[in-house]
């Protein structure tokens, strides 16, 4: 799709520190150096989509973290279920839902490419 082209054009942004492996929001903005200091350029409306692309990357990391956290939570539920079938079923569905949600988030790009590619 078009958004992919935008990403390729401006692949190199300002170097900057991430936080806990999260990319920076200005990752895809075209850099401009003034006196050796890099500042991301924000002079056109389409810069909004470059920021959106970086935010989507951040969201993907968040999705992975949430999924891991809920798999751990489900495991904890399973440990503390004491063999109660209701509680084990609850714990199992927690774990399965966490993994399904992670799969949906990771595959979202592929799903969109598939639908848009088939129709248009």
């Amino acid at each position: 799709m078009i958004s992919v082209n935008l990403l390729i054009n401006f692949a190199a942004g300002c170097p900057g520190g991430g936080l806990l492996g999260f990319p920076t929001w200005y990752k895809y903005l075209p850099p401009m150096y003034v006196d050796g200091i890099c500042s991301p350029q924000l002079n056109s409306l389409s810069a909004v989509w470059l920021i959106a692309a970086a935010i989507i990357e951040i969201l993907l990391r968040v999705a992975a973290l949430v999924a891991v956290a809920f798999v751990i939570y489900g495991g904890f539920q399973l440990i503390t279920s004491q063999g109660d079938p209701n509680k084990t079923a609850q714990a199992r569905s927690t774990i399965i839902n966490a993994l399904v949600g992670l799969a949906v988030a990771i595959l979202s790009g592929v799903i969109i490419g598939f639908i848009a590619g088939r129709i248009s």
Binding site: Q41, N97, G101, A105, I106, G109, I112, I115, A116
Partner: protein
Amino acid sequence: MRSLKYKLLVATGFFILLFSAQGIPAVSAAATRDTCGKKSLEVSTAIDIGCKGRGNPIADASFAIIRFLSYGVGLVVVGSIIVGGIQYSSSRGDPQATARAIERIRSTLIALIIFIFAFPILNYLIPAGFLK
């Protein structure tokens, strides 16, 4: 839900920001093109909104904004599906929460399909190749 008044206020602010050439310090000197409309009619804008310099400024600016919005559809849809995935992950096996996540993903896909068919439908309705 935000009220209609709030949305109108935000939209008005957005347009004032876009179309006021003076009053905003230039973020960068290297703007590609920040005028709308063809040579004799051109109107300058504060930032580059992607005008192609054809016809009257209003139509040019509207097409620029339509182009801008349609570039972002893919990104917004992917983002919304990822949010749906996060909702699904954090549902803890609660069927209602799962249903909400599935509802979000389904609505997003319906929106994508509506967007894909928007151009053919409008092309069919609006006469004389206005959308060229």
